[in-house]
């Protein structure tokens, strides 16, 4: 098991190097860099010398290969470099906002699981009835309605009905759980809706498939109650593929919250990413992309390990 984990960790390296190569060089394909944006932003007349000096300070005057090697050297020691816009370390900027985004992702996952498991199950058990159609309508909405619009509608609903909007400033959970939850539960519900839709569809189809399997017939034949057949034999197996979706969707949420954070005006990872894109802040974009990729790869590993722990058919050496 430990050897398997070690091997998997080794296998992460080529993927991450691929991500590093692609993002680094893609960002530099097109001429025009942060120095131009920063110094000529308001159409100010800036001397060529000043621009060159700033380039030199940021290391942008070096050949691309040298820049890349320097960046990779830092990456090995988990040093992501400094933001070209604020000058603060990239890791510090990320760390300052990580808690908020991470908490929304967790809340959204909990919300999605709590909603999707019962919805997907009843939809499969009462296939073709109005229950099934209602659930399918709800899940279709989750996939088709733009999350930012759902967010705006939710805020509008809160304002109309309770004359209240969630607080804008972030309070850590350990300081004041109530203030924290009353701010973050709304964005979590909005992204959780889409997440739940994906999950409920998967649970429905995998449950339908499993209910036709031989071992379900065997369970019924040996006289197991219908409740036990469904809840123990069928659902237990139907939830296995859901683990993959939960793990990967969770990983995607860290980066995918970009739009929702904008709606709720939250200063999280997503907002930082948008700012970095708008300012052409290369080191920041690179650092964040590496983080998203690392989270995804680790989530993949955790999912595989969970399978090994839960599913007796899967064994790793």
């Amino acid at each position: 098991m430990i050897r398997y984990i070690f091997n998997r960790l080794l296998m992460m390296i080529p993927t991450l190097i691929g991500v590093a190569l692609i993002t680094f060089f893609i960002l530099r394909i097109v001429p025009g860099d942060i120095v131009e944006v920063k110094m000529r932003a308001d159409g100010a007349a800036v001397s060529v010398e000043a621009i060159e000096a700033e380039r030199k300070r940021l290391g942008l005057d070096q050949p691309l290969g040298v820049q890349f090697v320097d960046w990779m050297k830092g990456l090995v020691t988990l040093d992501l470099g400094q933001s070209m816009w604020t000058g603060r370390p990239v890791s510090e900027e990320i760390a300052a906002r990580f808690e908020l985004t991470f908490e929304i992702a967790i809340l959204a996952t909990i919300f999605a699981v709590l909603v999707a498991v019962p919805l997907g199950t009843v939809s499969a058990l009462w296939r073709g009835t109005w229950i099934d159609y209602t659930v399918r309508l709800i899940t279709m909405g989750g996939l088709a309605l733009p999350t930012f619009w759902v967010g705006l509608l939710l805020l509008m609903f809160l304002l109309w009905n309770f004359n209240w909007l969630p607080p804008i400033t972030f309070t850590p959970f350990w300081r004041d759980p109530w203030a924290n939850i009353s701010q973050l539960i709304w964005p979590a519900m909005v992204v959780g809706y889409r997440f739940a839709a994906v999950l409920a569809r998967l649970i429905r189809s995998s449950l339908l498939e499993i209910l036709n399997e031989d071992f379900i017939r065997t369970a019924r034949a040996k006289g197991a109650s219908e409740r036990k057949v469904v809840w123990v034999h069928a659902l237990g197996n139907a939830l296995l593929p859901a683990i993959t979706v939960i793990g990967l969707e969770f990983a995607f949420l860290i980066g995918g919250l970009v739009v929702t954070e904008q709606v709720f005006n939250l200063n999280g990872i997503g907002k930082l990413f948008i700012q970095s894109i708008k300012f052409n802040d290369y080191t920041m974009i690179q650092g964040m992309v590496m983080m998203f990729a690392a989270i995804y790869v680790i989530a993949n590993l955790v999912v595989d390990l969970l399978y090994a722990a839960i599913d007796p058919r899967v064994r790793y050496r």
Binding site: A144, L145, P146, L153, M156, G256, V258, V259, Q262, I274
Partner: protein
């Protein structure tokens, strides 16, 4: 000679008849699909004939009519510049369709070519392409699109923002290439391909005449389905202020900026564009599903 002269007319008539009868067959078997097709056609007509249908000019600013509630004069009210929201919704359909169709086309075509090449060449080429696809798949959709936006910026060609089209198309490429690769792999191992090879046909002929026709169905299905995703992504990027730029009317853009300021004073500014986006996405999603079930029962999940 006389045969050559009559042959085309017969084939066109036959084609028209078969098109109409297959359309009828489609509507009978897939009523939901037919309904969504109607929504799509309405959108198409609205965007092609926007100049004739829309009651106002989408860019006409009227400071004497700002933030008016829906009325007979302004069916969906007016925005803070006094522009007619209904007009801007109609022109927004054009933006959504142009960007959605071109992004889906670019993404699906490049993805299909990549997937087919990967399956056909196999071996080392396949391994390299698949690793590349793995890397692309490890990003959240919006993140990948935003990186492309950062790189390509705004490049207008014939009034279409090519940077935006590619930003939406590139996240589609790895997903499509996976599906097409799997389909191509299964076709490559079919006995009729072996038969064609035994008959001594060239690789080109086998690919174009024997493999490609069997990949067209999944390609078309994905082309339709990804229009929905492209419209949704365009709306999201425009909402973030990194997609379509003002003053071009676009649904996502209509919700961006300080939409929250109008919760009480002008809720129609928030409700209508969202309905438009959702309706378009649902229509293309359902039509894609119906097309899949109708074209090939094997693709039913």
């Amino acid at each position: 000679m006389s045969q050559a002269a009559t042959a085309p007319t017969i084939s066109i008539e036959a084609r028209r008849a078969s098109f109409l009868s297959s359309l009828a067959g489609f509507s009978r078997q897939q009523p939901v699909g037919a309904l969504s097709l109607i929504v799509i056609l309405v959108m198409l007509v609205a965007s092609v004939f926007a100049e004739w249908i829309a009651p106002y000019d989408p860019l006409d600013i009227d400071y004497f009519a700002i933030l008016q509630a829906p009325s007979w004069d302004h069916l969906a009210g007016t925005d803070p510049f006094g522009r007619d929201v209904f007009t801007r919704l109609i022109y927004g359909a054009r933006t959504a369709l142009v960007i959605g169709l071109s992004a889906s086309f670019v993404g699906c075509t490049l993805g299909a070519l990549l997937g087919a090449a990967s399956a056909y060449f196999g071996g080392r080429t396949d391994a390299v392409i698949q690793r590349f696809v793995d890397v692309l798949l490890s990003f959240p959709l919006v993140v990948l699109a935003l990186v492309v936006v950062a790189v390509l910026g705004r490049n207008l060609v014939f009034g279409i923002d090519i940077g935006l089209v590619f930003a939406i198309a590139i996240p589609i490429i790895p997903q499509v290439s996976r599906v097409i690769r799997a389909a191509a792999l299964s076709i490559r191992n079919m006995s009729y391909i072996d038969a064609a090879r035994t008959a001594g046909y060239s690789n080109t002929r086998i690919i174009l005449r024997h493999m490609a026709p069997n990949l067209i169905a999944p390609y078309l299905i994905m082309l339709t389905a990804y229009i929905a995703q492209a419209i949704l992504l365009e709306a999201s990027l425009s909402f973030l202020g990194l997609g379509v730029a003002e003053p071009t009317p676009a649904w996502g853009l209509m919700l961006s900026g300080n939409a929250t300021d109008y919760f009480i004073t002008a809720p129609w500014l928030i409700i209508f564009p969202g309905i438009a986006i959702s309706l378009a996405v649902i229509a293309f999603n359902l039509f894609g599903d119906a097309l899949r079930d109708w074209l090939d029962p094997k693709f039913r999940n």
